[in-house]
């Protein structure tokens, strides 16, 4: 050091008391437990989170802009890629919106096929959530069991519509394929197998004390906060509000099946965990009744004009997807392409409560809370 050089600022030690300042930590967009390209800029002190700012848009493909110059049949493959874990529900919500606008009648057999496909997809989506959520908490094996059972669902859907995840199965006014011979029996066998398999899931993890301590009381909020943040699906039902669009604003043939709406009261991660597993049981019950009531014959496609032109005007429909209430708004000017297509995406709305839940939580809780919201990034950034 030159002797006559004045000491620079950094050389002099800082103020006498030790200055602690928060650390800005980037969680994502490439991070094992953000379920996709989702970045969370977290200001932490030690390990408690002071403030979390989510950064999104990494998977924004501008589906709404593309849809404005596509005909309705062409939009359906794009809808598969929003919530790619439950593509059937996305297909259905678009077809349901256009059918409501045009007032089309759907043949019964097509509606049954749609409901069976949607409920199978709901179980597959909850299985993926169950496997990856436990991977975040640290248990490695449940992931493999969940994906083994999901594989049998994907095989069923693959036989039905030719694809494992991006189905493109439903058309405006009905469905594209009829059930192949023997498919319904395979669905019935799967339902029996899954009923025996669910208690094993509970045996593996649900009783584990470490697991319960990791989730009880974490990410807790009450009914009013849930409504304030427009949460839907399991995020709403875990605070005690008994609301499921399949029953309360019934669409398709859901009023023919009787099933309960599982709700909880605590509103924490553990409640959401139990709710989603209970929802798998309810979907199995619906599937069982749907397979029994499945009509022996009937068309799979209603009377639909060759070029689909919904009347000028607008519509907004919403149905129950595994992640919550998915809605589609279509403004049409009588042409075969929508003037404006808006997608009300449950993951995007449910994620708004994350910054508020994370204040004061620590890193391990952050992973537990984010996992319990069950987001799919294709849907958040649509």
């Amino acid at each position: 050091m030159l002797r006559n050089q004045p000491p620079t600022e950094s050389v002099i030690s800082p103020a006498p008391e030790i200055r602690t300042e928060e650390m800005l930590l980037n969680v994502g967009p490439q991070h094992p437990s953000t379920h996709g390209v989702f970045r969370l800029v977290v200001k932490i002190e030690g390990e408690t989170i002071k403030e979390a700012v989510p950064v999104m848009g990494y998977l924004h493909r501008g589906t709404e802009k593309i849809a404005e110059n596509l005909t309705y049949t062409q939009i359906i493959p794009y809808m598969d890629r929003l919530d790619y874990l439950a593509a059937m529900t996305n297909n259905y919500v678009l077809c349901h919106a256009v059918e409501t606008m045009m007032g089309l009648a759907i043949p019964e057999r097509a509606d049954y096929l749609r409901i069976i496909a949607m409920e199978l997809n709901r179980i597959a989506s909850h299985l993926v959530w169950w496997g990856t959520y436990l991977l975040d908490i640290g248990a490695m094996s449940p992931f493999l069991y969940a994906f083994r059972d999901r594989e049998s669902i994907l095989d069923l859907l693959n036989e039905l519509c030719g694809a494992r995840m991006t189905f493109n199965y439903m058309r405006i006014g009905g469905v594209k394929w009829d059930a192949p011979p023997g498919w319904i029996e395979k669905v019935a066998n799967f339902v029996q197998y899954m009923k025996k398999e669910l208690p094993n899931y509970h045996k593996l993890v649900s009783g584990n004390e470490i697991f319960i301590h990791r989730l009880a009381g974490i990410g807790q909020y009450d009914a009013d906060t849930a409504l304030h943040y427009s949460l839907s699906g399991v995020m709403l039902r875990c605070t005690g509000i008994k609301w499921d669009l399949r029953r309360d604003e019934s669409y398709s043939l859901y009023d023919r099946f009787e099933f309960e709406i599982p709700t909880a009261v605590e509103g924490d991660c553990l409640a959401r965990y139990w709710l989603r597993l209970a929802e798998i049981e309810q979907s199995l019950r619906i599937l069982e009744q749907a397979v029994q009531q499945f009509p022996a014959d009937g068309e799979i496609m209603g009377k639909v004009p060759r070029v689909i032109r919904p009347p000028a005007g607008e519509t907004y429909v919403r149905i129950e997807s595994p992640r919550g209430e998915i809605g589609v708004y279509i403004a049409s000017q009588g042409k075969d392409k929508p003037w404006r297509l808006k997608l009300r995406r449950p993951s995007f709305m449910n994620l708004q409560i994350l910054p508020h839940l994370l204040v004061g939580a620590n890193m391990a809780n952050m992973v537990a809370i984010l996992g319990s919201i069950d987001i799919v990034l294709g849907e958040v950034d649509a």
Binding site: T73, Q74, P77, D155, E159, A163, P180, K203, G207
Partner: protein, 137 residues
């Protein structure tokens, strides 16, 4: 304190059970008959009606027709037909809309290539891809 012992018992019971892994590279993966794989194109059936180009959501099909060689038959036959598999999403709308079933889906899905321009498949390649073609379309 018994909760985690149940879990341990469960994993121990799974130890001797039959494995579910499918040895894919060694044994071919059996796809159901309706599986949407890479398209097969039969040029003699095509009547150059451009339906598939119009319906394709990602506009990945380009085709050019030329007038029929022998004069008394009018109409066109296909000259070049290529699909850009970089953006094709195998959504099966083109086969649905094709009036003469010139383009149908096959069940094979292996399409890994080393360079992007190998993904531009032309007419001859699509015609050659005729293994396990899907029966019902």
């Amino acid at each position: 304190m018994l909760g985690f012992t149940k879990g341990l018992g469960f994993t121990l019971k799974k130890l001797p059970e039959k494995k579910v892994t499918h040895k894919y590279p060694d044994e071919p993966f059996p796809m159901p008959s309706r599986f949407r794989g890479i398209q097969h194109f039969s040029p003699e059936k095509c009547i150059v009606c451009n339906q598939c180009v119009r319906i394709c959501p990602t506009d990945c099909i380009q085709l050019t027709g030329k007038p029929h060689p022998d004069p008394e038959r009018k109409g066109k036959i296909i000259d070049t037909y290529d699909i850009n598999f970089e953006i094709c999403i195998l959504c099966d709308l083109c086969t649905e809309v094709c009036p003469t079933e010139a383009i149908v889906m096959t069940n094979n899905f292996e399409l890994a290539v080393y360079s992007r321009d190998e993904l531009y498949k032309d007419l001859t390649w699509l015609d050659g891809n005729r293994t396990n073609i899907r029966e019902e379309n």
